[in-house]
Symmetry: none
Subunit: 227 residues, 2 copies
DNA sequence: TGGTTTTGTGACAGAAACATAACAGTTTTA
DNA sequence: TAAAACTGTTATGTTTCTGTCACAAAACCA
């Protein structure tokens, strides 16, 4: 499973370097933007999982970037943590009003920032953080890379493991073959779309090896879903 | 018990502020010095448990401070972690054998710095954390540097020892080769990632020399895990 | 129903990931 | 200072996984 991607928007180079380095050390992928323009561009292009947004930016203010991200269709769901140098309560209120999901005042504890990042990602990318994912009698422990069903241990190849993690993260939503290729294989890998079918088959077989019904649902013309 | 006191020697105010803030956030008491003079004074006066020492200092260099601390009777036992801006200097620091207990190159991961601080403190203030790591019949005693399995003493090389300690600390989580290289070999050492495999093999052999199954699990495409 | 589209699946060859032994250079130990 | 222990790399063998294809089965549609 790919590491969560964090969009870091901060104009001051040294601040940016420190944050970037520490985020990378925690295992995140970091995409950096130096101003609002670039931030908005990368937000839709790099498909980040979370955005760290500085309040003070040249040209377009952080507040404005936040507002635009939250009103854009593609980027509405992107969690945003605002970083501000000032502690005035008014700023905080305004930040959260604009739709930011959290707010931190500089100077902040890096440990606390990381903790808040994790808190936001826990909602959207639980598998990437090493959480336990459950659906009925199926249990996937991302940290120890283990899967079991009704108590029986189940051995999965890397691809099937990621596939199952996707379905568990998607919470029953239907995922198209294209979406699965993106998330499981990666964005710029070219493989035949029918290959997904084969791996779905393998995943099904593995999950049913100790009995139990088929937990995967084929949605003709659309893709697959869990449950 | 009172919190460990850390003597932070760093002349640049912003760097000092960041470090101080983060250390305090982790529950340490911080005493700050801006140059070598003050550092030497505070080292004997404030009775710190550990010293974070910047390489570049006005007047008296960090290297010189380190040397003096290590030759002073009262301060000889004070653990020192040197902070250096560039990796070339790191070599010098190492080569000159200043007596520092650990080194970090800027920019560093705050999480890693904290981890190293704890590591040093564990030696000098062992009451802080439990020293024995256990998994099933495997026992690692960090204080005496001993490992045993099912009662049999097991002799491990330094690398295998650290490797096993990592797995015991990770509590069953999968560790990637990169993570292991970071933790066992160090962040800025270049070693082929395949080398990890070899040492895993050696560790396995050592752990199984008196019988018993393989406690290490290979997670294809991801890394290794204990149990 | 018959034809058409979509999905399921077994087989297979090639690729990738991993295990292990051997080796040469280095460091530590006695 | 010689011997022993340790390290990182390389080469080779082994296992496991992948992606594609071909054909079978199922679902859909008129």
């Amino acid at each position: 499973m790919s590491a969560p991607v964090i969009l870091l928007v901060e104009d001051e180079p040294s601040q940016r370097a420190v944050l970037s380095y520490n985020l990378k050390a925690e295992g995140f992928d970091v995409v950096e933007a130096v101003d609002g323009e670039e931030a908005l561009l990368l937000a839709s292009e790099a498909q980040p999982d979370l955005c760290l947004l500085d309040w003070m930016l040249p040209h377009v203010s952080g507040l404005e970037v936040c507002r635009r991200l939250k009103s854009g269709k593609q980027t509405r769901e992107l969690p945003i943590i605002m970083l501000s140098a000032r502690s005035e309560e008014l700023d905080k209120v305004r930040g959260l009003e604009t739709g930011a999901d959290d707010y931190m005042v500089k100077p902040y504890s890096v440990a606390e920032l990381i903790a808040r990042v994790r808190k936001e990602l826990r909602r959207t990318r639980p598998a990437a953080l090493g959480e336990e994912l459950v659906y009925e009698d199926i249990l996937l422990d991302a940290a120890s890379h283990r899967v079991s069903r009704a108590g029986h241990n189940i051995k999965l190849g890397p691809t099937e493991f990621r596939l199952l993690a996707c379905f568990l993260e998607a919470q029953g939503r239907v995922l198209s073959r294209e979406q699965l290729l993106d998330r499981v294989w990666g964005r710029d890998i070219y493989v035949d779309t029918r290959t997904v079918d084969v791996h779905i088959g393998r995943l099904r077989k593995a999950l049913m090896q100790h009995g139990g019904g088929d937990p995967l649902r084929t949605v003709r013309g659309a893709g697959y879903a869990l449950g």
